[in-house]
Every structure is written in C-alpha cells, then in structure tokens.
Subunit: 192 residues, 2 copies
DNA sequence: GAAAGGAATTGATTTAGATCAAGAATTATT
DNA sequence: AATAATTCTTGATCTAAATCAATTCCTTTC
C-alpha cells in the first residue's frame, strides 16, 4: 500500500527502516472511485493526497462556467490545494478522481507531527515544493510561447501516462486549447 | 535600509525587537545600477535578493533568442532563481535591474543560520513560497483563458507600480503578448 | 544641444486557433 | 443487447493577436 510513497521519499532523501515505518503511520489510506470528489472548491483542504494508484485532476470553474484543469496526479504524485491546506483558507480548486484511486492522506496536524518526529522529511517537502515551482514556471513560459502542437508534444514527452489515460477534453483544458484543436493536432502528429 | 524588509516580515509573523535585530544581520546590503545583472543564467544563484528600492526583472532567453520575462520585483518583493538557490544547480534565469536598486542579499548559509536562530522565519518563508505558488497558478490560468486586454487590466489592478515603471516591451513579454498589441490595448483602455 | 539608437505608435496583412455545427465512435445505463 | 449519453472527429467560418513595415517620439551619449 505504501510502495509509491516510499519510492518517492527514497528518491530524494535517505531514511532508516525505522524512520520509514514512522512516516507510514502518519498517512491515512483511502480509496475513492472514479468521478468522486476529494475536495470541493469553497471547503478547506484538510488533506494533501499522495497517489498510490489511479489518476486525479484538480480544476477551477470560472465565472462563465468554464473548467480549467490545473494539475493531473497519477501514481507517485501529490495533489491538493496547497494554499488552502497550509493556510486554512477556502480552497479555490476542486479535486476529482478520473480513475478509481488509492490515496495516502496527510492531514496538517499529522504533517506537523511527522516533520517533528522525522525532521529529514522537511527536506523531502522542500524538494517537492521547489520542483513544483520550477514546473509552474515552465508551464507559464510554455503557455505563452509554445504553439498548441509544441505544448502537446512536451506533455507527451514529460508525462506520457497522462496523455494515455486522461480524456482529450481534460488534456485540452490542461494545455489551454480547445478539444477540437487537440483532436486535429493528434491527427497530424500520428501521420508523421 | 531595512524598512521594507521589516514591513514584509511583520506583515506575516510577529518578532520581538531583538529578533528583528538578529534577522537584519543575516542580510547583506547591496546597491546595483540600472542595466546591471544580479544573476546570469548558467551561474549558480548564490543569493536571493529582497528589494528595498528599485525595480528588477528575471527572464529567460529561448533557443530563438526570444526573451521571456518571468517576474518583476519592486520594493518589498523577493527575487532570485529559487530552484538554483535551493538546489545549487545552474540558474535558468537572468536577473537584471531595470532601475537603480538597493537590495538585501541572503546567502544560503545565512538563510540556514537565520532559520536556526529565529525559527519563526520558517513561517515567513513558507508563506512567501505559498503565495508564490498561488500567484503562479493564477498566472497559468490567466495566460490560458484571458484575452490580452484582460491580462493587461489584471496586471494594472494587481501591480500598478509595475505598469507605471516597466517598459512596455517588458510588460508585453511578461504578459505573453507583442509590444504592438500592448500599445493598441493601452490606447483603447485610455479612451474609455 | 545635435545626432544616434531605442521605444512606442499606427497601419496593412496574415495566421493559429476558436467557434459553430453536424456526424461518427466510444462508453454507460437499463 | 439496445438505447442513451458522452466523447471524439471533421469541416466551414471567424477572429484575436502576430507579423511585417514605416513613422514618430523619447532617451542617451558625445
């Protein structure tokens, strides 16, 4: 049940077997089914979720009712409304399972306990945050300067799992293009 | 010399006068002149810079030689290549002063010392990081779903200082539009 | 203070991608 | 298995913004 989590941690820091056992106990396993929501915009985000299995998306709904996919999360990724989780303010994002999923939830008190008990986990979360900021900056630049095709090809290279498993509507929304444009791009890319 | 920094900190956490004095000593004052670079892409980002006075920008140069403004920083803001600073890897951003500037530099060893000496500063940096992530997410959504005019109006509302002080080329680059388009938008906005 | 070099404006044209619309192909539901 | 409901594809048209180009307006700088 914790393989992905352990892998994710050991990728970044070194923990003793005892520390690993301690860390495990701070996470609450939870299964959710396709189409279920883990978080509704307006609620406070009580947990950040580590994905052991499945695929989720976070998204906002704008004034005109348009959905914007902020992030996907598959095996080994973390998802949540970080800002709401850390500050206790209302969440601006919704989080929905796109496939049946197995999650490991971490509440804020558990997180604080854990960082106190296993201080090396500070480094783990710092690295995650840092990677996240780098990824967001890349996405800003890409959304400003790449063509729709370049955006799609980059996503395909960086996250083939998402391209294979998410619907084209969701992928298009994530890339900031229409589903029609994505469909045409896929056709072109296929025949070369 | 430290007014802006103290204001920024006291905005988020409460420190005793003694703690404030301690914090001050970890920062190195530095003046740089317009057009000077604080960081070149490829170097390691040794310092994050708190802006006491002036205006700076960080930007990347893509393969075709095109510049992309990542961020502006004016009084009370922090600028640096966070990823390079924290990880020690090569910076991907350049940082340049757009006006003569007075900075307070924080090196990584100083930062670690400071967090150790005044642990409440952890919270300060956590809040800064968190705000940064929220801002980046907003920017991604805006760049995908807003028109050029909406992007400009939002920047004008959120950061009038930048709109007034940065060149239109830089503002256009930051917004992901051409200088010509920005010029036309400004004309329209002015006559209403 | 004149010349030079950018920066900003304005106009004409092009284009990538959006929008509108209708049909084909999957996927769900009973 | 049959029907309903999405999702995806394909085509025709439209539009916001890019590109190309020429002029005017500011700053530098000598």
């Amino acid at each position: 049940m914790h393989e992905q989590l352990i892998k994710s941690i050991q990728d970044k820091i070194t923990l003793s077997p005892e520390e690993i056992e301690k860390v495990k106990h701070f996470y609450i396993p939870k299964k959710i089914r396709k189409r279920q929501y883990l978080l509704n915009a307006g609620d406070v985000c009580q947990y950040i979720a580590f994905v052991e299995k499945g695929l989720l998306r976070s998204f906002t709904v704008d004034n005109d009712g348009g959905e914007h996919v902020i992030q996907f999360a598959l095996e080994g990724w973390l998802i949540g409304d970080m800002s709401s989780f850390l500050s206790g303010d209302e969440a601006t994002y919704n989080i929905e399972a796109l496939e049946d999923a197995e999650l490991l939830l971490l509440s804020k008190p558990s997180m604080e306990d854990m960082l106190h008990t296993v201080p090396k986990m500070e480094t783990y979360f710092r690295i995650l945050m840092q990677n996240h900021i780098v990824a967001l900056n890349r996405r800003v630049i890409s959304s400003m300067s790449d063509t729709a095709e370049q955006k799609y090809l980059k996503l395909m290279n960086n996250c083939p799992g998402i391209v294979n498993r998410a619907s084209q509507q969701n992928i298009a929304s994530f890339l900031g293009i229409t589903p029609e444009t994505l469909s045409r791009i896929r056709k072109q890319v296929a025949q070369k």
